[in-house]
């Protein structure tokens, strides 16, 4: 039993924290969202150069990490800084799926990914909500290759990416686990159109429409119709990432709020001297420690058997969702009016934290799933 980071990870954490603290400013974040690509080229290149993308891949795949605690520490730091870059989509989802299922030729792409190529991942569809197997986009064999038709919704960082890993149904009914396949799709391919927009919490995403998109045979990643397990594993890793990001956001929000309570005076004294707020803030802190433990539990079981792993996925996402909401609402309330203004740092952090509950299943979705997994 050991809760300290290895020396390598400690160095990565220290370096990343320092780099992000020095680099990420409110202006950088706002410019990123306002830009056509929806992210910061400077920040992304900096992360790539630091080797942060490589930390998300195993040595076997050309990286130097890829385990649960690598993911957790990286995204905790991203969250602490309030940064949003295509790290999750590139490194965990698209990149992770290529690493898991790709042919040697496809996996050759990972080196460029670690170097800074941006990918995204298009799986969810209008009406699929958080249901992993609900895919109506169809891929049909045509000659040597494939033809894809369907809609993909809220694809983060699509405006910045050159390619997307896209899920499509090659067989089976709408919610079957069997019959799902993955394809590597260039985003400038004929028949693909995107409507892109900003998202709450920073950055840009897009709705993708695929109408008779023709792809070569080697666009297929992994076995035809057999991608579900890899998709589920990738979502487990992505859930670990956003839970850790949420933890980082909570820590920054806690620091902001505590400082505000210490300095803001009302009725003649710092509002942090009001006992009602002290006790509520103590409860917030206690719950953040619970969130930290949930992230550790998930990171530590990400390589465990499916049942155990997914149990921790749902436990962590449920707890993070509940604690995230508490932290958002209490921090805004304790700040009062200033906490409502976009100019103040809290607004961005709070929105980003709240939006994490809308990714990969919200607290209720995972509560029900936790029960189902226990019964199975």
């Amino acid at each position: 039993m050991n809760f300290t980071l290895t020396e390598e990870r400690q160095m990565l954490q220290d370096g990343l924290r320092r780099y992000l603290r020095d680099t990420v400013t409110p202006d950088l974040l706002e410019d990123a969202t306002e830009s056509a690509s929806g992210h910061s080229e400077t920040l992304w290149q900096g992360l790539a150069e630091m080797g942060v993308i490589g930390a998300l891949f195993s040595e076997e795949d050309g990286g130097f990490g890829g385990a649960g605690f690598d993911i957790a520490l990286t995204f905790e730091e991203m969250g602490r800084a309030g940064a949003f870059e295509p790290l999750l989509e590139t490194g965990i989802l698209a990149g992770g799926l290529i690493a898991a299922l790709g042919s040697d030729e496809q996996k050759a792409r990972i080196e460029a990914i670690i170097g800074g190529d941006i990918l995204t991942y298009a799986h969810a569809e209008p009406g699929s909500r958080y249901d992993l197997s609900r895919v109506t986009t169809r891929a049909a064999k045509s000659g040597e290759g494939w033809t894809l038709t369907g809609l993909k919704s809220v694809v983060p960082h699509a405006p910045a990416a050159t390619h997307a890993v896209v899920s499509a149904r090659t067989s089976g009914a709408v919610a079957d686990r069997d019959g799902l396949s993955l394809f590597l799709v260039p985003l400038d391919v004929t028949g693909l159109s995107a409507r892109d927009y900003t998202v709450n919490g920073g950055g840009r995403a897009a709705e993708l429409s695929l109408v008779d998109v023709d792809l070569p045979a080697d666009a297929l990643i992994g076995p035809e119709g057999g991608a579900f397990d890899a998709i589920e594993t990738a979502h487990a890793r992505a859930t670990c990432a956003v839970c850790a990001e949420a933890l980082g956001l909570m820590e920054s929000i806690r620091a902001l709020t505590t400082e505000y309570l210490q300095t803001r005076k009302q009725f003649g004294q710092p509002i942090g001297k009001f006992q009602a707020l002290q006790h509520r803030m103590a409860d917030v802190l206690i719950e953040i420690e619970q969130a930290r433990s949930a992230v550790i539990n998930l990171a530590g079981h990400l390589e465990a058997d499916r049942t155990i792993r997914e149990r921790h996925v749902s436990a962590a996402k449920n707890l993070i969702g509940r604690v995230g909401k508490l932290v958002v609402e209490e921090s805004i309330q304790m700040h009062g009016g200033i906490g409502m203004t976009r100019e103040y740092a809290l607004a961005h952090l709070a929105k980003r934290l709240m939006m994490i509950d809308h990714r990969f299943g919200d607290a209720d979705y995972h509560l029900e799933r936790f029960i189902r997994l226990a019964a199975a």
Binding site: R129, M354, H358, D364
Partner: protein, 398 residues
């Protein structure tokens, strides 16, 4: 004990319904129901329609052109207009300043300002809060120094809702530093076209700019714009606050919000069922609905007491706390119901006639907006912490 309206009250309710059916423009109710931005012209249009009917001065006595309604009638009107998705009546002139002028204003002030509030000549905003004051209203720092026939006003107000549309502002200003903090405050009416007044928007976390900072730099205000006596403004300010608390429970908004939530949950897929059939989500909706059913009666009990002549006391603090918690819970559930489509933010889609349609279902983005925007409910008008303090002191005597 009788939970039902009297026959007279039912007849009145039917009148209100018939009026709304006939006169509320569908263009406006569609915007309200759809969570779109209302323009200044939208509010003015609705005010004019109400004024034509004589129903704009909801809280005003008949002698000043108001409705003369009692608390129950006002409640019915509120209930029906909210259910019909009418725009809200902008409260600053009508519910706040009007009653203060009627009680404490000079005859000249009454004769000049009250009609202008009704006919839309003036759009008033409120100059109470100051930076760093929060719920501590008595810590007024904006000064008004007498100089012949004028006051010279310097300072800053903040959280001035819809100040961008206003041409007039009523302000608490400090005219004396003697005695207790409350004793040196005066209540001043300021024309915002006077040089030295500057309005700057504050963008909130939902991306909208409905509140403002208002700056005063050597603003010359004629002394006849003083309401009542110099240094007695705190009395008038407190009187205004009790009027501000009309409809503090927000039951109408909560009912409308709950109906929308159920509709959305009935549309959203959740696996093989609709979200409303998810037992966890259904339980949360049912819980807040049960709370709201009780809250509506708590509210009616207070209204009945008010109609019977009892002054609303710390009960309004209880209504404020529970009412805002319920509305915020409904907002949170609606955001949750929106699922992944809670994320897209397309500001233009909130404008009428924009070419940019919403991303995903049209209710999704407004759900997120309303969730973040309505965090304000438990902060403004005396934060819920201040209200709990009032309950503790006034009712529990702790």
């Amino acid at each position: 004990m009788d939970l039902n309206y009297t026959d007279e009250q039912k007849a009145f309710r039917d009148d209100v319904r018939a009026f709304l059916e006939a006169k509320l423009p569908k263009r406006l109710s569609d915007k309200v129901a759809g969570g779109k931005r209302l323009t200044k012209a939208d509010y003015e249009e609705w005010h004019a329609i109400l004024n034509e009917k004589g129903w704009l001065g909801v809280t005003w006595p008949k002698e000043h052109g108001g409705t003369g309604w009692d608390a129950v009638e006002r409640h019915i009107f509120e209930e029906e207009t909210t259910a019909a998705h009418a725009p809200r009546i902008v409260p600053f002139g009508l519910n706040m300043l009007g009653p203060v002028l009627m009680k404490f204003g000079s005859d000249a002030q009454k004769a000049h300002y009250l009609p202008r509030i009704l006919n839309g000549d003036d759009w008033w905003c409120q100059g109470y809060s100051e930076p760093g004051a929060g719920s501590d209203l008595a810590s007024v720092k904006t000064t008004a120094v007498r100089d012949g026939d004028h006051y010279i006003v310097n300072g800053q107000k903040t959280w001035t809702t819809l100040g961008q549309h206003a041409n007039m502002i009523f302000c608490l200003v400090r005219t004396s530093k003697e005695g207790k903090r409350q004793e040196g405050i005066s209540f001043l009416l300021i024309d915002m076209d006077i040089p030295g007044v500057e309005v700057r928007p504050i963008v909130l976390l939902d991306g909208e700019a409905e509140v403002n900072e208002v700056w005063f730099n050597d603003v010359k205000v004629p002394v006849e714009n003083l309401v009542g006596e110099e240094n007695k403004g705190w009395t008038y300010a407190k009187y205004l606050l009790t009027h501000e608390r009309t409809n503090i429970a927000g039951v109408g908004f909560a009912n409308a919000g709950l109906a929308a939530l159920k509709r959305i949950a009935g549309l959203e897929n959740d696996g093989d069922r609709k979200l409303i059939d998810n037992p966890f989500f259904a339980a949360k909706i049912a819980q807040v609905e049960i709370d709201l059913m009780a809250m509506a009666t708590t509210n009616l009990r207070t209204i009945a007491a008010a109609a019977a002549g009892q002054a609303p006391g710390a009960e309004s603090s209880m209504l404020k706390v529970k009412g805002t918690l319920i509305r915020q819970e409904i907002n949170a559930l609606t955001r949750q119901a929106a699922g992944p489509y809670a994320m897209p933010f397309v500001s233009e889609a909130l404008d009428e006639g924009s070419n940019e349609g919403p991303v995903g279902p049209d209710y999704a983005m407004p759900a997120t907006q309303a969730y973040f925007n309505n965090r304000k409910l438990s902060i403004y008008g005396g934060s819920n912490e201040v209200q709990r303090q009032i309950v503790s002191k006034m009712i529990l005597e702790l």
